[in-house]
Amino acid sequence: MRPGAVIVAMVLLVAGTAPVRGEDSCVQCHKELPDPLGAPVAGMQRDVHATVGLSCADCHGGDPKDPGMSAMDAAKGFVGKPERGRIPEFCGRCHADEGYMRRFNPRLPVDQLATYWTSVHGQRLRQGDTAVATCVSCHGVHGILPASDASSPVYKMNVPETCGRCHADAQYMAAYHIPTNQLAQYQRSIHGQTLLVGRDPAAPACNDCHGNHGAFPPGARSVAAVCGQCHAFNKDLFLASPHHAAFDRLGLPECVTCHGNHLVVQTSDEMLGVGATAVCVSCHAPGSAGYAAAERMRLAVDRLKDAVAAAERTVARAAAAGMEVSDAEAALQSAREDLVKTRTQVHAFDPASLVKMADAGVQTATAAAHAGEEALVELRNRRWMALIPLSLIALVGALLYLKVRELS
């Protein structure tokens, strides 16, 4: 017997057993049915819609009070399972209705449907491609959880895997001629490592750069705006730098040109300068002004980095010896901040301003090291000075001892 025939037989069997009047007839019947017809009942137990009091009929129509098969009569508003291409509008009946949504969650946006139509997914769906992602592809169906629930496929930590279900599937994506290594690259990137390994929700997932309902690849000219959502200073410096106009002219994708996109690795000073690992030399040839500028900026950063490291060693030695070095530590912290600012200043691609900032940092670091040195000198002096009272104590002690011996 074919599976379809079994299901029909089960439906007829259940239809013959009248549900208890007054209870939801959809649940009463479907809970007795094998999957896939029975699955929605189990899934709905945790569904966010069920938790606010919505039931099957609120989405699928019909009359849940009718215990018979007539509950699923089109005349009673029954719409059944929507076609895949109609799912966004099916969900949007409520989720785009501000007045209706206010009854349940006034803070939830109601622009998901509108933004979905601006996404690549939505645009392709309108062109008749029903293989693209719709609401249920990411949120699931019958068992939909709020995005704040760690079990939800759209919970921040789960978003990369959710997008990757399609985008990392080479067979599924073959028709679209786009890469399928984004997930693998993201997982190795500093963003992926911070979010997935470090469990730091401040790190971006796919939707933070591409958008969620309006998912779209950022164009070359809007990359800085996307990255600048978090890296605001870097963006401002870049947009005011000579690289901005040059990159736009050459059609280079701004930040991505040096840092990559999905495989954004942990930045290091090695990216700057004219060494083998420096990104500057991929465009600037030896002898060019850009090459010289890159070399000069790297030297300045290294100078400050070395000064901070030297100060850290000195201050740490003094602190480990129990000396009070809070002033030195405050200066050191200021020098560390100067180093962060100097590294950020690289994005202005202006050697003069960077060198000035680095030199100020070197001065601060030197002051911190000096304070640490002073503490160490003070420690040595204290130890030498302690010999005076100790000698006196030893002398008086010796005299006392002689006197005690004499008395004994």
Partner: protein, 354 residues
Amino acid sequence: MTAAIGAWLDDRLRVRAVRDFLAHKLVPVERSIWYYFGGVSLFLFGVQVATGILLLLYYRPAPDSAFESVRFIMGHVRFGWLVRSVHAWAANLMIAGVFTHFFSVFFLKAYRPPREVTWLTGCGLLGCTLAFGFSGYLLPWNQLAFFATKVGTDIVGEVPVVGPALRFVLRGGENVGGATLTRFFGFHVALLPLATTLLLLVHLALVQLHGMSEPQGGRRRPVRHMPFYPHFVLREALVWLAVLGVLVVLATFFPWELGEKADPFASAPSGIRPEWYFTFMSQTFKYVPARLFGLEGEQVAILGFAAIFALLVLVPFLDRRAARGEPSPLVTAGGVLLLGFMVVMTLLAYLKPY
């Protein structure tokens, strides 16, 4: 001239009576090393009073200024580092000295009649010393002290019936905060010094009244004595000098660190434990089952410690054999067990903290 001044003083202060008293006062020679720890504790108390008064000149007992004022003392006040470091080290040495004195008196059975009240005042002084340590530890308002106080007062809160009220009084509220700091400061610089001074005066007066206790067994063979003055006094002075030397070395070569300022909203630092003299208790709590005899495990442990302390306080009245001058091996064995337990638990706290 000297004789005239002496006579003038004697007329007014009865100096001769004191001199005569000291000239005739005798101290047993046997096991005399244990007789010095009372004096050492007294000397360290004096050091604490002197350095404490100096610290008071700059210390500010408020959450937003306590840490900063101690840092100022250590970094900017001339010899402030020395005063603070000596105060911190002397506190620890004093607690060690008081414990040594306590157990030496216990094992020598020096609590025998007529020295029961001397023993009771000594127990009071031990309590005051530990309270000094507990209250003083919080005053620099650093991270370790803050959380140690939180844990310590939490344990007090576990005392059956009166615990929660006692914890509220100690903290000055539900949580450790500014109110806790100011009242700990009050305990440390007013209440405890007053109580300690009164107890100390009675304790010292009784020591002079009854003289030094002679070791048990003295009746079987004659006990040798030495004059209190100058023989014992000079020896005591030698020990005090040695302790002073140790203090100078510790304070100079191992300055007492200040750590980081307390942050009530931070999570407790890892490896947090109370000061070494309380670790035997905190370590015991780790081994006590969650429920015991229908009570919380910690409550049972607290009641156990309270019972042991009560037995120790009352030992002059319980140890009837010692009162008759006979050996009391059972009491000695109990003391050895207790001391062994304290040492093992303290070692475990440092060797196996988790």
